[in-house]
């Protein structure tokens, strides 16, 4: 197992290197510079700024400098926020986004799987139809509509939870609900389909033939097998949630990373774009690694024996 993880971490570093390179060159192909929006600057002033940030050097030299700095753990300084290091900005902004993402993911998976299991066990009854209805609602209502509804009814009318602030756990509840709807719906639909297929398999008939009740069959034999494909879907979804939902963050005034990322693209803030992209890539690759390890725990057929079996 340790050997396998070491191998995967080496792959992870190579992946990040490739992503960093591709993002770097793609950005250099973008028209404009970080300072082209500042109309008041004279040509001389711009040249001074370019020289200050090293943007006057040939692109291969810039690339080398950037890569060397990354290895040192230095992601550069932001252009738009007065010389703040990118690392500090990311860390400040990442916290709320991660918290919301993890909360939404946990709630989404638990409720989604539960709904899916119920729907599959009571296929073609009102429980199934009810779960399907909820899932379709969850998938088709845009999160900002739901966010506004939650704010109005729970925040303003009932005054149960804060409407839009970020200072305590209670202020994270509404945005978490808004974010969790999509994972709930996805997990519920996926789980239902997989479980119905598993229920039709021979080993489930054998489990029944041993004298197990319906509930025992589902809990002991079916759910674990139905979870395997679900993990594949949940991984990338987790990254999507943790890296922030711009809309939900904006509506609930959450100081997260989603908003900042968009702003930096608008202003050609290279170091922030690079830093955020790398951070997202890092999260994604780490989560994929976790998922691969999880597979092994759930499915013995792909248990990782040092990667050589």
């Amino acid at each position: 197992m340790a050997k396998y993880i070491t191998k995967r971490i080496i792959y992870l570093i190579i992946t990040l290197f490739i992503i960093a390179s591709v993002t770097f060159f793609l950005m250099k192909f973008l028209p404009g510079t970080p300072f082209s929006n500042e109309e008041r600057l004279t040509i001389e002033q711009r040249e001074i700024l370019n020289a200050k940030y090293g943007l006057d050097q040939p692109i291969p030299v810039q690339y080398m400098n950037y890569m060397v700095n990354i290895v040192k753990g230095d992601l550069g300084v932001s252009f738009q926020f007065e010389n703040q290091p990118v690392m500090d900005l990311l860390m400040n902004r990442m916290g709320p986004s991660l918290q919301l993402g993890v909360q939404a993911m946990i709630i989404g998976t638990i409720i989604g799987v539960a709904l899916g299991v119920l729907a599959a066990m009571f296929q073609n009854t009102w429980i199934d139809y009810g779960s399907t209805f909820l899932a379709i609602l969850g998938k088709s209502i845009p999160s900002f509509v739901l966010a506004a509804l939650l704010q109005y009814y729970i925040g303003v009318k009932l005054e149960l939870l804060p409407v839009a602030s970020w200072n305590s756990f209670s202020s994270s509840i509404l945005p978490t609900i808004a974010l969790a709807c999509f994972p709930i719906a996805t997990a519920a639909r996926f789980m239902r389909t997989e479980l119905i297929e598993v229920f039709g398999s021979d080993y489930i008939t054998l489990a029944k033939a041993k004298g197990n009740s319906r509930g025992e069959v589902a809990v002991k034999h079916a759910i674990r097998n139905a979870l395997i494909p679900l993990i594949t879907v949940l991984g990338p979804m987790a990254v999507g949630l943790m890296t922030g939902s711009m809309v939900v963050e904006k509506v609930f005034a959450v100081p997260g990373i989603g908003e900042q990322f968009v702003k930096s693209i608008m202003t050609n803030d290279f170091p922030i774009i690079m830093g955020t992209t790398l951070f997202f890539a890092f999260l994604l690759t780490v989560i994929i690694l976790i998922i691969d390890i999880l597979y092994g725990i759930i499915d013995p057929r792909i248990r990782l024996n040092g990667g050589d079996k």
């Binding site: 021979d202 080993y203 033939a209 041993k210 197990n212 002991k220 013995p300």
Partner: protein, 348 residues
């Protein structure tokens, strides 16, 4: 011999979008203690549905036992509660499935899967169940049972997996073992081993076996009695010798004639023409009539009753009616019948 299981006039239908499929249309048979009853017939004849209904494992919702009784130990399983069935399944009646590659749970160790019915029905603790599971694995001929116990199904070959399935089925020493084509998915050499194992274990555990197959060669090897199914009915039932050497129903004639034998040389094998009946619209008369070269007018109009040939041998064909004309069965069957009558005379 005592009757262990009695199926009386069983009717089972499936409700589909196209309408009601009458899969089983009046099946009667008995199973005696310690015997092996083979149920043969082509795909769709109702073999599996009949046996699944004994364990009440038919898909819930769209299947229905319309009428009839399944008597086991004086209890009618056709109307028994789900709770009652859960106590019987795996303890008194258990089942071996066709495909060992899919009938074991891929995410559970072999040991756990064998221990499950033991813990459930015998109230054994984990340790005792594990010890018993090791004995069972040894009994079904799996080497190094202690290590094998902790392994997963993918670490076993097809033949080994079927041995594990047999171990699960026999864990609680059931009175009835239903084997639904247990050797169909295995290659021929393994088939022989599994059949020998089953015969051997039957003696040790004293269980009765219902053996479903479409392989007459297997039937000759394992069965004491044979029931031939066609179109949701049993058309002929008798001892192995009676069915193989003195068959009466034209469908059984067809099955016997289409069997390769050591004497048959380059000649083409016999094929029963046509296809099985559509049970969505079951025929009014004998279901086999459209494919039967010996069919008479009455075959198309009225279903034949079971005619008695001997105390153990019955067949549902109008040819056995006293008024029916004498017909010559196919050559292969005539030869077998000649041997059969000669042996009866020899006995006397």
């Amino acid at each position: 011999m005592k009757k262990l299981l009695e199926v009386k006039d069983l009717h089972i239908s499936f409700h589909t979008f196209a309408g009601e499929v009458q899969a089983i249309r009046g099946v009667d048979f008995d199973l005696h203690e310690g015997e092996t009853l083979a149920i043969v017939g082509e795909s769709g004849s109702g073999k599996s549905v009949t046996t699944k209904s004994i364990m009440r494992l038919l898909p819930q919702g769209n299947s229905e036992i319309k009428s009839g009784e399944i008597l086991f130990n004086g209890e009618n399983l056709a109307t028994a509660s789900e709770k009652k069935m859960q106590k019987i399944r795996g303890k008194d009646i258990s089942m071996i499935f066709q495909d060992p590659m899919t009938s074991l749970n891929p995410t559970m160790t072999i040991g756990k899967q064998i221990m499950e019915p033991l813990i459930k029905h015998r109230n054994l603790g984990k340790k005792e169940a594990a010890e018993r599971a090791i004995k069972l694995l040894d009994l079904v001929g799996i080497p190094k049972p202690e290590t094998r116990l902790k392994q997963y199904p993918h670490q076993f070959s097809g033949g080994m997996r079927q041995r594990v399935v047999i171990a699960i089925a026999l864990a609680c020493a059931p009175k009835v073992l239903i084997a639904d084509e247990p050797t169909t998915a295995l290659d021929v050499t393994i088939q022989g081993q599994i059949l020998d194992l089953m015969k051997d274990l039957q003696k040790k555990i004293e269980t009765s076996i219902i053996f479903i197959t479409h392989d007459l060669g297997v039937v000759a090897n394992v069965a004491d009695r044979v029931a031939v199914m066609y179109g949701g009915k049993i058309v002929e039932v008798g001892t192995v010798d009676e069915i193989f050497y003195n068959p009466q129903h034209p469908y059984t004639w067809g099955l016997i004639s289409s069997m390769p034998s050591l004497d048959s040389q380059d000649e083409e094998l016999f094929v029963i023409p046509g296809t099985p009946p559509d049970l969505l619209h079951p025929p009014k008369g004998d279901a086999f009539a459209p494919r039967n070269p010996y069919a008479m007018k009455i075959d198309k109009e009225e279903q034949p009753p079971m005619f008695k040939v001997s105390d153990t041998h019955y067949a549902a064909t109008w040819l056995l009616h006293p008024d029916a004309p004498k017909v010559e069965p196919p050559l292969a069957v005539q030869e077998r019948q000649a041997k059969f009558h000669a042996s009866i005379k020899g006995d006397k």
